[in-house]
């Protein structure tokens, strides 16, 4: 899309773009290029010798059960986070849409998790679920359920999912509410006149019209689950027990900075880059086009 | 105030063989202080022409002069012009005062002089009580006046109006038209006014440029354009209902088109052309008889009390001899 009216200057646009271009060259493209190069190399732990190994790092990666497990974990984690997050927020948004009195209060209250850092969210939920002194853990034990996320992988996964979803509720809720409020009232009234009750109206009118929003949030939530949840994992389980909650981005960090496997970590970075590219392309291609009314 | 000179002005989009030429050589000399209307249907190039005078579009060929200066390569701010836009183009976050003062502020005019000019313009346009408000608080007509005020305070050599009345409702349009006329009488600044409405053109213009598909079809006073249209296009564009253009009427030679306005056809008892009536429109002050003659449509205007013939009857009409126009059937030009 271009404006009809454009300024003409040989040098000004370059001056304006210079800061951004300079920074992205130094801190984006150069490192990304480095990651690419490093992923084809094998380094000893002191970084003194490098040898070119072609796709070896990648082959090792995809044959490494640890990595494949991490992939599965991440996929599982992100689906859970996306689906639960979207469902819960949708429910809240539907009922919020019906309320006129007190809407502002509810909205403000529901917005608060957005202001909580993922790391802090992790700490909060860990406090509540701590096997020895957590309030919720206590209540679960009273109900006969032996909660221990330090030993039980499923519990650990549940913990990070809950913390991650809790954080995302605000964001999803805002978008769903806006989506619902942009549906013309006349459509709903027409359906009501036609005899459709609220439950039916929701499924045949509101839900379909919300599908661009839903799809958009699906992509956003998956990206969030892949990348923005590092802090939650680090604060709560550190990828444990063992490596059972080591999502991909956590593994990159661990392998690169704790285990000092630069080549492997770089290869993992490259794989992540490919995933992000695919997700972003999907987002722009399908979502931006569809949300164009 | 200054004269305006168009010498073979051409506008082209793109380069080389795929270039699209949209204005094909406009030549016109506008006198100092004249109010010129550029009129034509959508897409004829009138706005493009105006924007070339403003400096918002590049001039692909020819020479444009304001006063003695050739201004082809000058920025808008250097041409000493002011413009009133169709959608007002007022800066929404500034007060009306600031909107009018903005151009002067940039030109570093001293503050008391700015105050003086804005107050004076506001007085002429009856906006003095609205100066501290923002544009969104005003009605469409008021906003247009602020836009005009912004143009006036610049005291330019040329005023440019780009369809300023199109966004107003009918009543407001008529009112604002009168205000523009009044303004021109008082300030006497050379003005170019673009519109697609031939009524606006006829009422406002001292002279008008009639444009069609990038060509200047005629440049003359409203009288000239109405009484001696230079082409079939001008003939049918100016005047409502439009002039009848007939190939098959009796007495029309091969290769020519006969033009006669509906108001210049008289209904007779037996002489003249035989017209088969299709329908009659009763318009209060007049009546329009739509009919067919030798397969072509013809419109006849009659007085309010005149007899309204029934459909499918045949009436006879006599054209007034001194009101006939002849056009070349191929070129459309007046002969």
């Amino acid at each position: 899309m271009e404006k009809r009216v454009l300024f003409r200057s040989a040098w000004l646009p370059w001056v304006l773009l210079a800061p951004q271009l300079a920074i992205i060259s130094i801190f984006f493209f150069w490192p990304a290029g480095q990651a690419l190069v490093q992923s084809f190399q094998m380094q000893d732990s002191f970084g003194f010798s490098k040898e070119w190994v072609g796709f070896d790092n990648f082959r090792d990666l995809f044959q490494d059960p640890g990595y494949l497990a991490s992939f599965k974990t991440t996929a599982f984690f992100s689906i859970l986070v996306a689906v639960s997050g979207i469902t819960l927020s949708l429910i809240l948004a539907i009922f919020a849409d019906r309320i006129i009195k007190g809407a502002m209060v509810y909205k403000t209250a529901l917005l608060l998790p957005y202001a909580v850092a993922p790391a802090v969210a992790g700490v909060l939920w860990m406090f509540m679920f701590s096997p020895s002194l957590g309030v919720v853990a206590y209540m679960l034990r009273q109900a006969g359920f032996d909660w221990n996320h330090m030993l039980n992988s499923d519990h650990a996964m549940a913990l990070i999912v809950i913390a991650a979803v809790w954080k995302q509720i605000s964001y999803n809720f805002l978008f769903f509410l806006a989506g619902l409020q942009s549906i013309p009232k006349s459509l709903i009234e027409a359906a009501a006149i036609d005899g459709a009750g609220p439950w039916r109206r929701f499924w045949s009118i509101q839900f379909p019209l919300l599908s661009p929003t839903t799809f958009f949030l699906l992509v956003i939530n998956v990206v969030y689950a892949f990348f923005d949840t590092f802090a939650i994992v680090d604060a709560t389980t550190q990828g444990g027990p063992g490596r059972d909650t080591a999502i991909l981005v956590y593994k990159v960090y661990h392998d690169g900075f704790k285990a000092m496997d630069m080549g492997g970590s770089a290869a993992q970075s490259v794989v992540l880059m490919v995933i992000v590219v695919v997700l972003t392309v999907i987002q722009f291609r399908y979502v931006e086009k569809k949300v164009q009314y | 105030m200054a004269s305006l000179s168009f010498r073979n002005i051409i506008k082209r989009y793109g380069h080389g063989p795929k270039a699209n030429q949209v204005i094909h050589g406009v030549n016109a000399e506008v006198k100092d202080g004249e109010f010129i209307v550029i009129v034509g249907p959508s897409g004829c190039g009138k706005s493009t022409l105006l924007r070339m005078v403003a400096g918002l579009e590049e001039i692909s060929g020819g020479e444009l002069r304001i006063g003695d200066r050739v201004v082809n390569n000058l920025e808008p701010a250097q041409r000493d012009i002011a413009m009133v836009f169709q959608n007002y183009a007022l800066y929404p976050h500034m007060t009306n005062f600031e909107n009018m003062a903005y151009g002067l502020k940039i030109a570093k005019v001293p503050k008391d002089e700015i105050q003086r000019r804005v107050d004076k313009a506001a007085k002429i346009l009856e906006l003095s009580h609205l100066l501290e408000r923002k544009p969104r608080e005003l009605s469409g007509g008021q906003r247009q006046r602020v836009a005009m005020g912004r143009a006036i305070v610049r005291q330019p050599q040329v005023f440019l109006f780009d369809e300023p009345l199109s966004n107003l409702d009918a009543k407001l349009r008529a009112q604002t038209r009168l205000e523009i006329q009044k303004l021109h009488r008082e300030l006497g600044i050379t003005s170019l006014f673009v519109t697609h409405d031939q009524v606006e053109a006829m009422t406002l213009a001292q002279r008008m440029i009639v444009m069609n598909a990038g060509n200047m079809e005629q440049f003359g006073t409203p009288e000239e354009v109405y009484h001696t249209p230079a082409s079939t296009f001008v003939a049918s564009f100016i005047g409502s209902p439009p002039m009848n253009l007939l190939k098959n009427a009796p007495g029309v030679q091969a290769g020519t088109i006969l033009g006669i306005r509906p108001e210049h056809l008289d209904v007779t008892t037996g002489d003249g052309w035989a017209v088969t009536v299709e329908t009659v429109e009763l318009l209060g002050a007049e009546r329009l008889i739509y009919g067919r003659i030798h397969g072509e449509q013809i419109i006849v205007r009659v007085e309010e009390g005149a007899h309204a013939p029934a459909p499918d009857t045949v009436i006879h009409v006599q054209p007034r001899g001194d009101r006939l126009h002849s056009f070349n059937a191929e070129t459309g030009k007046r002969m």
Partner: protein, 283 residues
């Protein structure tokens, strides 16, 4: 809605209240915990109403007087680091993006398309996918353990540029033309007209970027090793020494609440603008 059924309305309120409780419960608990002593909390179940240790806990948190097994660094210093980082990222990003978006939308120049795509691609490179080599660059430039290292690598990604670009495309062409006729050059137009008109987008971005900057975790984790350059979100993690009993949970919770305060204040203050800006422009 359509039916005025009181049952439905009451039910809706019920759901909303439930939602608020679920969402707010961790925060409430954190507050309660921060007002007790560590010993009170370790006794299971911990009390559900606030205690009387408020001032002591917060004092220990802010000024580092605790005796926990984990880090006991003063939170006040960490809050300051977080604050400076967030503000620098926010202001820097907004300024850079305004200029870049302006260049891309309002000028014609060679290689414009390429520049646009270069910036677009950075959307696909969040810091998490390039941590190793970016750390290398920062280290080589001597920017470790500094505000520069914490902020500059995060300051130029494309989200803000795109937001502004979308917005600029909706500004009517006639305003630019009127400004040109009035004699305004490009930078004058930018300063007097475009930026004032962008107020809502700038406000929305301010909130988003402030929170983004404040919440940064992975990057500061790598780039800072000295305690006095830790942002508060790192500090809070370091307070946990694994093994629950050793931690002073009351201080940890106090820190959590302190860490939440500035972003919450920013969100609540700018709520009106923020919600409108976020949804309108993301779409």
């Amino acid at each position: 809605m359509v039916e005025r059924s009181p049952y439905l309305t009451a039910f809706s309120h019920l759901i909303m209240v439930l939602g608020v409780i679920i969402v707010g419960f961790p925060l409430y608990l954190a507050f309660v915990a921060s007002t007790h002593t560590a010993q009170d909390i370790v006794q299971v179940p911990m009390p559900m109403v606030p205690g009387s240790n408020f001032w002591q806990t917060y004092h220990d948190a802010l000024f580092g007087g605790g005796t926990g097994a984990g880090s006991t660094a003063p939170v006040a210093r960490m809050m300051w680091v977080s604050f400076v980082t967030a503000i620098v990222i926010t202001v820097g990003k907004i300024a850079i993006s305004l200029l870049s978006a302006f260049a891309i939308v309002y000028f014609r120049f060679p290689f414009k398309g390429i520049c646009f795509w270069l910036i677009f691609i950075t959307l696909m490179l969040p810091v998490e996918v390039r941590i190793g080599p970016t750390y290398q660059v920062v280290s080589d430039l001597g920017m470790l353990n500094s505000y520069a290292g914490l902020t500059v690598p995060l300051i130029a990604s494309a989200t803000a540029t795109f937001l502004f670009r979308q917005f600029f495309l909706t500004v009517p062409d006639e305003l630019v033309e009127a400004a040109r006729v009035d004699g305004a050059g490009p930078m004058r137009f930018f300063k007097d007209i475009l930026v004032p008109l962008s107020r809502t987008s700038i406000a929305a971005l301010f909130v988003i970027q402030f929170i983004y900057g404040w919440n940064q975790y992975l990057w500061p984790l790598l780039v800072t090793t000295s305690e006095d350059m830790y942002p508060v979100v790192i500090g809070i993690k370091r307070m946990l020494a694994g093994g629950d009993a050793g931690n002073e949970w009351n201080i940890v919770m106090a820190t959590a609440l302190l860490a939440m305060l500035p972003p919450a204040v920013v969100v609540v203050l700018m709520q009106r603008w923020f919600v409108k800006g976020l949804v309108d422009t993301e779409k």
